[in-house]
Amino acid sequence: MSSQVDATADEATEEMNVVTAVKETLRQEMHRDEHVRLLGYDIGPIGGVFRATEGLLEEFGEERVVDTPLSENGILGTAVGMAMRGDRVVPEIQFTGFFYPAFGQFMYTLVKMYERSGGNLEVPMTVRMPYSGGIKSSEYHSESTETYLVHTPGCRVVVPSTPYETKGLLAASIRNDDPVFFLEPKKIYRGSTEPVPDEEYTLPLDEARYVRRGEDITVYCWGAMVRHAETAADNVDADVEIVDLRTLSPLDVETILESVKKTGRAVVLHEARRTLGLGAEISALINEYALDHLHAPIKRATGYDVHFPGHQIEDDYLPDAQRAQYAIEAVMEYEF
């Protein structure tokens, strides 16, 4: 089951972009719970390379906003210790592409301690990582690395697609007792704003969101791809349903199946490479549990199976509204 949550009209709101929503949510959560502690390099005086923690060092002091040495594995490994000790740690990894040196602590302790200890030690943690492409930066600054996380049990993976979603999902992640990877699509950090309630609120961490309802075909997407799905939906001659997965792990399989059983056609849209990108899992699930509802093959409109290219040709790698539209049209036109 899944639900569309809206800011109701009479609430006090503020116009925000995604990066401001991150910062304001961190501030709110740090006021709410003194055990929330931020960790990462460059998160102090400059407030992170994207300014998502700007001002928090001054406000909370350097015991709460901990600027660390340059070691992703050290950050994750000490964060696990802090969480075991009762902190709610929010480490930042500067870019998803710099997560790899931390893979040891990720696999051995972060996702494992709770299980290994038979539930006796908890690791509440929200690892924030600026995620995905579109900002024409250099190598390792544009990757979508969710497969490495989603294939691994013991953690949640969350991707917001709007400022409103950002606040509710980030607050929920910080309050959640599991390790959560909170992937922030850089492309939409500053692109557009929307009114975000001043009040605290949380959104569920296991429910996809219907961005729009439709009868003919489902587009599964998340993060910065959602707006491309919307543009494509506007431009095609079909009644498109758009599902924003929001939580890549655990997957909201119920909503995934519910939608495609109704529409009978599906496209997955993601920036990650295609082979074993999350589109593969969605396609396989539909095959397993909804095959006889399917009127056409599922197409994956994704990045290609290559290293993320240089910025001159980045736009040729990245899926966009046009690529989404092609996939929708191809699937719509298919006849058995």
């Binding site: 502690r37 015991e63 709460r64 901990v66 660390t68 040495p69 070691s71 594995n73 050290g74 490994g77 000490t78 964060a79 696990v80 210790g81 802090m82 969480a83 075991m84 000790r85 009762g86 902190d87 040196p101 040891g104 602590q105 051995y108 302790t109 301690m113 709770y114 299980e115 290994r116 200890s117 038979g118 539930g119 006796n120 030690l121 049990p153 013991g154 949640r156 959640n176 007792d177 599991d178 296991d206 655990p250 997957l251 909201d252 399989v253 119920e254 199946l257 699930l285 397993e288 549990y289 909804a290 095959l291 006889d292």
Partner: protein, 376 residues
Amino acid sequence: MAQWTERRPSEEFYRVLDPDGKPVNDVPDVDESTLRRMYRTMVESRLFDEKTLAMQRRGEVSIIARTTGEEAVSCGSAAALEAGDWCFPSYRQTPAALYWGADKARAVAALMGTEPETIDEHLPLEGEPEVNFTPVYVPLAVNVTNAVGTAMTDRFRGTDGVSLSYIGDGSTSQGDFHEALNFAGVFEAPAVTVCQNNQWAISVPSHRQTAAETIAQKAEAHGVPHERVDGNDVLAVYEASREAVDRARRGEGPSFIEAVTYRMVEHNTADEESVYRNETEEEYWEDKDPIDRFEAYLLSEGVLAVDDLEEIREEIREEIQEAVDRAREVPVSDPEEMFEHHLHESTWKRDHQRAELQAERRGENPFTDFTGEGLQ
């Protein structure tokens, strides 16, 4: 390049008792009951190894890694902790856990491959543990980083807890070790790291792990105070650890201790040490057995009498046997426990896969759900 040929570690280290148990330095001020507790712990660990080795030979437990010959290191250092502190063992620190009263039945059950949930259910922990022990870490070096993390939190909170972690000589070649010590140094974390340098990492000798003269000096890289001690001298280990722990508790930051010892036996029961090391080396170390040394000292000081020795051993043997009996009564783990404690709430996939496993165990086909609505 360094060869496999024998090389003995330098004896430039701090020592309280010589190999015959004679004091060569000031003896630290430790009360008799603590001395007896240390001695008992070391013997207990040795006998526990003997027992579980026998069980391994009978196929009752899968693989075990003995601490034989290295008991002084984690016994002496864990003894320096106080209630409320944290301890992060790897797989060769049985004495640390035993010193703080670990339930041997739970340890045996774990070696038998029982899932932690089953152990918790059938051999529940009694009361709050005095010192917080993490589960034994199998992947090397990563425990040190976690321990620096708990220490950082203590530092940030202004509380006075101390975190102690252990690492083997081989494992100090891992980047994790350096990253952890670097964080400890920068944040002046109350973290004490003890390297149990037993001269070998499976088949690789310590002098092929590093070109550094000592493991202790590795801490120079991180501005962390370090000490090198005779790891077969429980009093030397205790004294160095006590100083380090006290300093940490006073807010004076981390320390690193290299305790020089020797793996008197195989790496684990899948290993064959005779292939890569020789008997003269083993004999050299046999004379330095940490239990013999401490026993000699305690006898000479009158803390123990000769008559006590066999009595203590007999008592421990009975305890161990009783623990083994209790462990044997724990039923084989319920396979469904593999689904436990991944996330705090259940998920669609977990429910469906658990149902698959249940069906399979009932002898029914688990793959008949073609709608996602669950097995009928």
